[in-house]
Symmetry: C2
Subunit: 415 residues, 2 copies
């Protein structure tokens, strides 16, 4: 069976928010090998919602809607579904009790003109919403001899996602006898276009596994995804493609991580080898530390971080030589070295890693333009330095510098 995800919400059409609901549900369906053929977004407009639902059922078997379950006249996905399957709307006592309970939490009486929220298409399975007022539903029917499933979910992600995990996916599993499993290969030190070019023949040739690439500041991710009867079989299918990609990019530039984040691999290696680390950040202002700290259990090796944004902080806290800054500037390999060393000494750690650079939008000069940064890793009496000229916004430059710093630590401690 295949599916369409139909998200209802004017805020999506205004670009106020990005459609994470569609991504979340797509990912979950992909894991149980149900193909999503379309995603659609429509505003809170009854006429257009009905038309979209019709189009979706015409071209797919399973239609999953988010949003439109509220109490107002514009919230009509349930009525549209009932109309599509030609059934009545019926009262559900349990949902009424739920609404009452939820409103009491806000210390409000349940407004009786919100009663529509207690009505559902006749014959539908009603799903409890522990995190909001609107219960959801699953409706199975038939159109011209073909099974059609309509699933209506609330719009807020924190209400929708637990219901997908606990109710929708277990329900839909019965319609699929395959699994999908993917691995993420992180590629660093190679630009997005170049990395894609190097793998283009594989990307285009492969159908199982498929290879998808996406880039973010400082790295490119290759997602290799297989479909088979079991996870083990998927891994067998992925293996040779993964090996070929790593061979092309070089083992020093490409590695598998669970989430596609470089910090996973770095944190795992630090923990496995029990190597302690401290950070000294100017440009990145705490981002390197924050990304490492997001790894559970990191506290046994990550000892301390210093955000030495001002020159005084570099001098007082990290004991960077005043003359070094005067002679070479705060953004220089010399200062980066003393920062990295200073952090390792101040925190008593084996590794010190530093970042210094010009994030912009102001502060650039012809010699030191916006986007220039230096990373230094001090480890085992050696200094590993990299100079990068990055482009993009302040945020992107800082993200790229933190990715580079975290990956350089990995590279220093990898076998």
């Amino acid at each position: 069976m295949n599916a369409e995800i139909l998200c209802v919400g004017t805020e999506l059409l205004h670009g106020d928010i990005v459609n994470t609901n569609a991504q979340y549900i797509s990912k979950k369906l992909a894991e149980i090998a149900i193909d999503v053929h379309y995603q659609s977004v429509v505003g809170d407009n009854p006429d257009r919602i009905k038309k979209c639902l019709g189009v979706a059922f015409f071209r797919t078997d399973i239609v999953i809607c988010t949003g439109g379950l509220g109490p107002t006249q514009d919230d009509i996905t349930k009525e549209a579904l009932a109309e599509y399957f030609n059934v009545d709307m019926v009262y559900d006592e349990k949902s009424y009790q739920h609404l009452n309970k939820m409103y009491h939490r806000f210390r409000k009486d349940f407004p009786e003109n919100n009663m529509r929220q207690a009505y559902f298409p006749k014959g539908s399975i009603i799903l409890d919403n522990p995190n909001g007022t609107a219960n959801a539903c699953i409706m199975k029917g038939e159109t011209e001899g073909k099974a059609k499933i309509g699933i209506l979910l609330p719009g807020p992600p924190k209400e929708m996602s637990p219901m997908v995990d606990k109710e929708v996916i277990p329900y839909l599993k019965q319609f699929s006898n395959q699994v999908v499993f993917g691995e993420k290969l992180v590629v660093v030190n190679i630009g997005e276009s170049a990395a894609e070019e190097m793998a283009l023949d594989l990307i285009k040739k492969q159908t199982n596994p498929t290879i998808a690439t996406y880039a973010s500041a400082g790295k490119v991710i290759f997602r290799i995804t297989a479909k088979a009867e079991s996870k083990e079989k998927c891994i067998d299918i992925i293996e040779p493609v993964k090996d070929e990609l790593i061979r092309r990019f070089g083992r020093e530039n490409a590695y598998i991580t669970k989430t596609g984040n470089v910090e996973d691999r770095t944190a795992e290696l630090l923990l496995k080898k029990n190597i302690t680390i401290a950070t000294a950040e100017s440009l990145t202002g705490g981002m390197v530390a924050s990304r490492l700290v997001n790894h559970p259990g990191i506290s046994s090796v990550f000892k301390e971080g210093f955000v030495t944004y001002s020159n005084e902080a570099k001098i007082n806290t990290l004991h960077v030589n005043k003359d070094t800054i005067k002679e070479y500037g705060a953004v220089s390999p010399e200062t980066a070295k003393e920062m990295a060393y200073g952090a390792s000494q101040a925190a008593g750690t084996e590794i010190g890693v530093s970042t210094t650079g010009i994030a912009g939008p102001d502060g650039g000069t012809p010699e030191k333009p916006v986007g220039l940064f230096y990373i230094c890793v001090y480890y085992k009496d050696k200094y590993h330095i990299r100079k990068v000229n990055a482009t993009g916004s302040r945020e992107i430059i800082r993200e790229r510098a933190s990715t580079t710093a975290i990956d350089m630590v990995r590279s220093c401690i990898e076998d």
Copy 2:
């Protein structure tokens, strides 16, 4: 005129990436008062792409596609557009030269079987792509007496977005004589559901301005958007609604910021009042510093940050009393106080702000569960402390704590 955004890409349907292209274009169209009625996503499947294009032109005036401009047989959006308008595909010498140039950058010869990338629907305006191989195009035609515009853009955001800004929006402006302007009201200290309940009548009643809400860890954003002949007129329309919302939430809990980020307001106030600050972070591990540092020009007031993740770091760097940690624990109001004070003393700043808590997934106890955190702001010899029991993932708990910390600093220095 109204529009549909049609994004082509199997990686979107797999949930590998979130559809930021649709959001970006929607936002830009909203700014020039062109209504987006639908967003759609389809995979790299020629048959389905053609059908989607037909549906889009049937129900809207302007169809903007992203993706599908590559060199392979699956990349068929240009051919589908030519077919729709019933014109031939014609060779464009300038695009051929561009392709040659781009391939040489990768030190590759232009593969002659990629020649399709130099062909465009006859009569279309061809748009240069400075950041990639695939040039884009705009095609204007007519269907049953109604003007229809098709715009084809490359899929990678860093190629697509500059072309939207420089070519597509200036072109489409001629079809709109209104502007749209919005303001973002950040609401803190009030939960998402409660905040929405407090404004539900306004949200449902208003059509100009419209009010949209969206929540993230630790805050709720109300976006108030008006449509009128001029920006000044928009501001007049927004004013009374904004005032009413601020009145309901209380001035201490609600304020306008440019981006919807709490750090904007805090950083602006720190700079305006020239109040220096240092951070002492355990739980948040540098996130508070990093968010403040993302504000350009912050270096004059943000002096230094300490990521004191280990107890030794708290004791050695911030001079937290060993006995305080022993008696009350690292996650306690007592330790939070000494951290905040210690940071202000170590960096010589007026404000010290600290975070300490349990991010999980492990490390919780019945007395101190995962999600518990303390924030302390030390300012003018006073300690401002808040205790929060947050829920969610490690990342969400840390984000919420950093939002709370940054907002508490604002609250301490706001008039």
